[in-house]
């Protein structure tokens, strides 16, 4: 706040700032204002319940009424079922599953139904819902509240998966997700809710399936997303100091992922590191590494590398939790090691 006040550029030049939390809230509000069929449901989402445990949906029920913004019982199958049913008859529900680990109690509804109804009905019906969920280490929440499970959903045909890393993308991806004709899982990072950045203009849309080049570079491509993208950006200085020019790609949409952008970048740099907070084994990076290694066979300067969480549940103790997800330091070290391999 005080920083913003000290900015001396004229107001017209400097975009408004927003946190990711504010951006998602604005996207929901703008979508509801623009389209009467947009609905919000989930535990505690309405204002008598404070607009969500973190406040992402604050103000919506007051503004749009408690028929369109409904707090639910603790019953994730019922939540997703209600969203699916309403979506089949013309509504665009945005359902919250409070934490990503709680998708485990709604997997049938998400995977066997939301993702498949279009196909199984031969295209007669479709399920335009958004499932918002938050996750991430860094809050000392331990083994059952911190997992990144995006690989499960990316493995599920019929769904899309999105994970923004900054406020403008959060806004634009949410608008795209709401208007997408198919189920979209929208992954929010808990510690990054309060990350500030340029706010999106109202109506800004980030098309699903398009990655963003967050930083141009020549020597190595780093593909990441969500909070790990933030860590990657923080690693940049150390990487540059080692004399390495890194191209950083924010995947943003995890499924379908933007093969064209990633492969073009790796074709240019010859090196690839995929970094994410999810467990490395069988994580999203496996698919990207498999595709890049296959498609750029013989053209790479180094083996495709991955950096993810170890093959363990998320530990509670701070000393262990801090060592769990890839952070700026480990990303920088890994990048430097990869680029040194061939030197």
């Amino acid at each position: 706040m005080s920083e913003a006040m000290m900015d001396t550029r004229p107001a017209a030049v400097k975009p408004k700032q927003a946190t990711i939390l504010e951006a998602i809230n604005a996207a929901l509000a703008d979508a509801m204002a623009d389209d009467d069929t947009v609905l919000v449901l989930g535990e505690d989402v309405a204002d008598p319940e404070e607009g969500g445990v973190v406040g992402v949906t604050k103000g919506l029920s007051t503004r749009f009424g408690d028929k369109r913004v409904r707090s639910t019982p603790i019953a994730e199958q019922a939540i997703i079922g209600a969203a699916i049913g309403a979506s089949l008859v013309g509504y665009k529900p945005v359902a919250e599953i409070m934490l990503m680990n709680f998708t485990t109690v709604a997997m049938d509804m998400i995977v066997n139904h939301a993702a498949k109804l279009r196909y199984m009905s031969g295209g007669q019906t479709h399920v335009p819902i958004v499932i918002r969920t938050m996750t991430g280490t860094g809050m000392s929440s331990g083994g059952q509240h911190s997992d990144y499970l995006e690989a499960w959903f990316a493995h599920t045909a019929g769904m899309k998966v999105v994970a923004p890393s900054n406020p403008a993308d959060a806004y634009g991806l949410m608008r795209a997700a709401i208007d997408d004709p198919d189920p979209v899982l929208f992954i929010e990072n808990l510690p990054n809710y309060w990350l500030k950045g340029d706010a999106a203009e109202a109506g800004h849309v980030v098309p699903l399936g398009k990655a963003r080049i967050a930083q141009d570079g020549r020597d190595i491509t780093i593909v990441s997303y969500s909070r790990t993208l933030t860590e990657t950006l923080s690693a940049l200085k150390a990487i540059e100091q080692a004399g390495i020019s890194a191209e950083i790609i924010d995947l943003r949409t995890l499924s379908p992922w933007d093969e064209d952008t990633v492969l073009a970048s790796v074709a240019k740099t010859g090196r690839l590191l995929v970094a994410h907070e999810a467990v490395e084994k069988h994580g999203l990076g496996a698919e990207i590494a498999a595709v890049a290694s296959n498609r750029l066979f013989g053209k790479l300067k180094a083996p495709v590398a991955r950096l993810g969480a170890p093959y363990t549940p998320v530990p509670f103790s701070k000393s262990l939790e801090d060592a769990y997800a890839p952070n700026a330091k480990r990303i920088a070290e890994t990048v430097i090691a990869i680029c040194k391999q061939q030197d």
Binding site: L88, V89, D108, Q124, T125, H126
Partner: protein, 326 residues
Amino acid sequence: MADNLGPDGETLLGIYRRAALLKANDERSRKVITTGRLMMPYYSYRGQEIIPSALCASLTDEDYLVTIYRGIHDMLAKGMPLNDLWAEIAGRTGGTCKGKGGPMHLTYPKKGIMVTTGIVGSSMPIANGLAWGAQLSGDGRVAVATFGDGASNIGAFHEALNLAAVWKLPVVFVCQNNLYGEHTTYEKATAAKRVADRAVSYDIPGVRVDGNDPVEMYRASREAVDRARAGEGPTLIEAMTFRFHGHVFGDADGYMDKAQKAAAVAADPVPRLRARLIAEGIADEARLTAIEAEIDAAIDAAVEHALASPLPGLAELTTDVYGEAA
């Protein structure tokens, strides 16, 4: 129940019309499989025909239905055209789902048949959403979820009924209690004396009726549908019935009580209704025979049309996974 709920003679005849179609269609399905003309997982509903036949007397084409793998009777009663049905279960182009859904996932939105699920318990949470849509739109539609007695023991049942109750959704939950869930008896799987008793957990009306009795079933359904339409919230109906065959076609049903089964078959509700129509002078033998002949001919035509239709081409494998973003 109030006495003016009916059904009158026309309605009873309508129920029979549906029940006769359902019965004939089940018999034909099993025959077509037995003779090797068609291969599919088939869950016979023979014995349960009265339930949807009486239920649908209170539903319009605009009302929603979510049913299950054992649900072809529900769909036919709700108006699924025979041609679309048969082409689908034969996996042919021209099937209502282009052959991609099959017998467990038939869908026909034009008659409100929105979802057919193969996952026990899943019909209920989705029916809630359809009902929520109706509640928001204020269009007076009602959603019906059908499911089995076994499904009343799974979590989705509980979550869905509770949500429907707290949101006062226009939804009717119809449990077709055929006394078995696959090979397991009602008693061995279900702690409640009656599934209908479970309505207490949601503070909604719960009623157990003889689902094979068209009058009881009609009245219970009509009352529940009227309540839902009037904005008074959900109802749980437990319709007692019996499954004449094994769980799935090919199942030897050795686990079923022989005497119980023989008694149920002897009390076959469809001929019973037929006899009643004649006895009460609602229709005579000739009229019913004509109806049945019409049904047979329609099924004949649908079966032959389906089996003569081409299988989908390989391009269909990868379509309908995603739509086009606007």
